[in-house]
Symmetry: C2
Subunit: 225 residues, 2 copies
């Protein structure tokens, strides 16, 4: 009885949040491209709402690093320079390492089970050609590791940093054929976590990141030309 009520509450999220989620998704999936203007009227019409929730959603996107607004000129989808990428990566590396360490110490049996399933799901996705699915399953894999670390703040920050890179990867990944390496890396991470071998996991995680950055770097280069 009570659960049904709660579910209803969830079902009708404030419009600003719906708009925020919708726009974020569009940015991450590349439907809204870096540099593209976010015009209030236009978005309002497209989404069938007034400007008010759009504006509030833009303020949120701004703080999440996905949009940039110049006062009295309007907002646009945030671009990333190669330098920004280096910066994000430097931070991510420190935090993914922290996350891997904590996860190593703290994971519980059901979580490990989840991670095994996520690994398999990713492998399955990697066999196909649905980029969205692949990226989604990759995210799911890493999200479980963050969850294992038992630190919501850490999770929030790393997710945001990943987000900022992913929206570039999305585009690129399309003709990025060696998923096999990713699959292998995931397997190694899983394996290391099972052994609670912090050093090993840290090292693999490090490589995993290094491989990603190159893909993103390419995309950014193209973008800025």
């Amino acid at each position: 009885m009570k659960e049904e009520l709660e579910l209803n509450m969830n079902a009708y999220l404030p419009l600003r949040d719906v708009v925020f989620l919708t726009l974020r998704d569009a940015i991450l999936k590349g439907e809204l491209k870096p540099g593209e203007r976010l015009m209030e009227m236009h978005l309002a019409d497209r989404l069938g709402v007034s400007r008010t929730p759009i504006r509030e959603a833009i303020r949120m996107l701004e703080k999440e690093g996905l949009a940039v607004t110049i006062p009295r000129k309007g907002a646009q989808v945030a671009k990333m320079t190669e330098n920004d990428l280096e910066n994000v990566l430097e931070v991510r590396e420190a935090l993914e390492e922290l996350s891997a360490k904590s996860a190593c110490r703290k994971w519980t049996e059901p979580e490990l089970e989840e991670l095994k399933n996520a690994t398999i799901a990713f492998e399955k996705a990697a066999e196909g050609n649905d980029v969205r699915d692949i990226v989604e399953k990759d995210e799911a894999f890493h999200d479980i590791i963050y969850k294992m670390a038992r630190n919501d703040k850490l999770m929030e920050i790393v997710s945001n940093l990943r987000e900022q890179m992913y929206r570039y990867r999305y585009e690129y990944v399309k003709d990025y054929n060696n998923y096999s390496r990713l699959v292998e890396e995931h397997e190694k991470i899983l394996e290391g976590l099972m052994r609670r071998d912090i050093d090993y996991v840290t090292e693999v995680m490090h490589l995993h990141l290094k491989n990603q950055v190159n893909a993103v770097r390419e995309t950014i280069r193209e973008q800025s030309m």
Copy 2:
């Protein structure tokens, strides 16, 4: 001539930003206390603006972790549990360490000069009783170190994390008499940076954080009772 224009431009920031800065300041300084409701009408009257910029400012505070809103119930100043504190601290530690390392490698002569001045300014402030001044000078000191690290993203994130702790420290610091330890720690950090001694700086920074956390932990305990 041009500078005067720029100043004018700055002087007329969109209201949402003015409101955001004002509210953030009020939260950090403890004028708006954790748990306190942020009612749109009330704030609008107090600040002499309409609800629109207030609402946008609240969305920004939300994303910065300084406010929490429950849909259709309104926003309130974010509270921090002891667990949140541990989480923030764990992340901060990883990032302050990264920041110290980078700063060690990258600082330039004029920056070091700045840091020396900031150290002295902090010492002077610590002799007095103006808590705001002390906290401000402490922030300034650390900001220079972040700047040395040449990573805006890192700076942004660490600043935000510091912010979330500081608003608790502000209250507490009032009868926290041993600034001498802080002064000493700042001096050690400066000294280590001058020698570019990464291990030393990392260690002192670690202690510096550990000392802070206890002060904040106290305040949070009181708050939750």
